[in-house]
Amino acid sequence: MKTGLNFPIYLDYSATTPVDPRVAQKMIPFLTESYGNAASRSHALGWKAEEAVEEAREHVAALVRCDARELVWTSGATESINLALKGAAEFYKTKGKHLVTVKTEHKATLDTMRELERRGFEVTTIDVDAEGIVDLSKLEAALRKDTIVVSVMLVNNEIGVVQDIPSIGELCRKRGILFHVDAAQATGKLDIDLGALKVDLMSLTAHKTYGPKGVGVLFVRRKPRVRLEPQMHGGGHERGFRSGTLATHQIVGMGEAYRLAKLEMAGERERIRGMRDRLLAGIRTMEEVFVNGSLERRVPHNLNVSFNYVEGESLIMAVKDIAVSSGSACTSASLEPSYVLRALGRSDELAHSSIRFTLGRFTTEEEIDYAVEHLKTKVAKLRDLSPLWEMYKEGIDLNTVQWAAH
């Protein structure tokens, strides 16, 4: 059965993706041959690097449909988010001191917001519904006269649900509030049109879209103009928004990765959706499995499932032939259940027993079929071990049991 498959089977594309070999090929010459500094205006090596950087910028702009001059290179989405939120808050603090975000955002946003609170800003963090979607009326109700920034992610990293960015953009623009969107998980998965969206700031990264780690972009709208207080000072690169010598090879990699995403996204998306649905159908042959988050408003490569009466960490340990995440990769070092699933109102037990499967460009049907059989065997084994499963089978309602919490 194992012939032809490489183990572990990688189903963790939302943690990171492999660099596409075509991208890697494009990057290599910029390490060893065209190694000039893009800021060197006095010789050909510098010009060549600058040209490569600008070409890459055009590729990124083409994917998200904006002007290349609106893009600032960073080290990744976390830095982009930090620059967007801290930069905007510090620049516009005389206008107001209130920011709004959502409970299910990535830690890069939530932690930056906490830092802003420490600096004297006020932050409102709104709930999502049981499907993981932001309720627009709740968001509107949270907006105040002194609100300066709203930050909402386009695609959730754990459950893959898609927020209504167009409508939130309208709400914010009407009130003159800056709108930042974390789109780290969205590029190459769904169409992004910054020409139509009323989005002022957008954070992007390369390594979730088959580019290298360590490079990202912040989109900063020119019309209407958005201003930021820089967070990194130095040589005044990137129009003063972000100083530091540009990592040419990384930037070239991001450009090529985004160019390929634009070319191949439409076909890839449907192929991946087919495999995700095959995975879901296989998993649903088991009892007591629950999909976390809306299935309809979700990117096609994500499936987040709770296996009731099985504990998540032991499940991850059991399914060692497949590489998946419990909760999110960023939080799986702690023993806390996923805060995203808790925000959906999932019980601690179900939040503890969740697995995130994320499929990608190199996933095959054979891998999906293997993963389904592997899961079935391991879940059955752990349920045989589980006193909760035994009680469930005896017809005991676990909610009526007095547990000795520890």
Binding site: E313, S386, P387, H406
Partner: protein, 128 residues
């Protein structure tokens, strides 16, 4: 999370998995932990007329360390008198399995499970 070889061995090949009839007079049942905390252990002991534990069974919902801790104690309690079994310390379990600091609570839970099973048995027989 890097597990020790002993944890992996118990996890892959858990000893004495299963259940005894809870209402059997010779059986003591201990159930500790809570689903919301991520671990529930059920430990059962079968006690002979001489007060020596003849057999043990467990079922555990929890991480690999919790499963290994409960599997290990089913082996340890067999052949011991009730008071001997109840004196097993979590530190011995943690040491045997080389549990990392974040997993010490699993060994504490296993110790509590033994105590609860012994207590349950004694309660069944205490009034006689």
């Amino acid at each position: 999370m890097a597990y020790s070889d002993k944890v992996i061995d118990h996890y892959e090949n858990p000893r004495n998995v299963g259940s005894f009839d809870k209402s059997d007079e010779s059986v003591g049942t201990g159930m500790v932990g809570a689903p919301a905390c991520g671990d529930v252990m059920k430990l059962q002991i079968k006690v002979g007329k001489d007060g020596v534990i003849e057999d043990a069974r467990f079922k555990t919902y929890g991480c690999g360390s919790a499963i290994a801790s409960s599997s290990l104690v089913t082996e340890w309690v067999k052949g011991r008198r009730l008071d001997e079994a109840a004196s097993i310390k979590n530190t011995q379990i943690a040491e045997e399995l080389s549990l990392p600091p974040v997993k010490i609570h699993c060994s504490i839970l296993a110790e509590d499970a033994i105590k609860a099973a012994v207590e349950d048995y004694k309660k069944k027989h205490g009034s006689k």
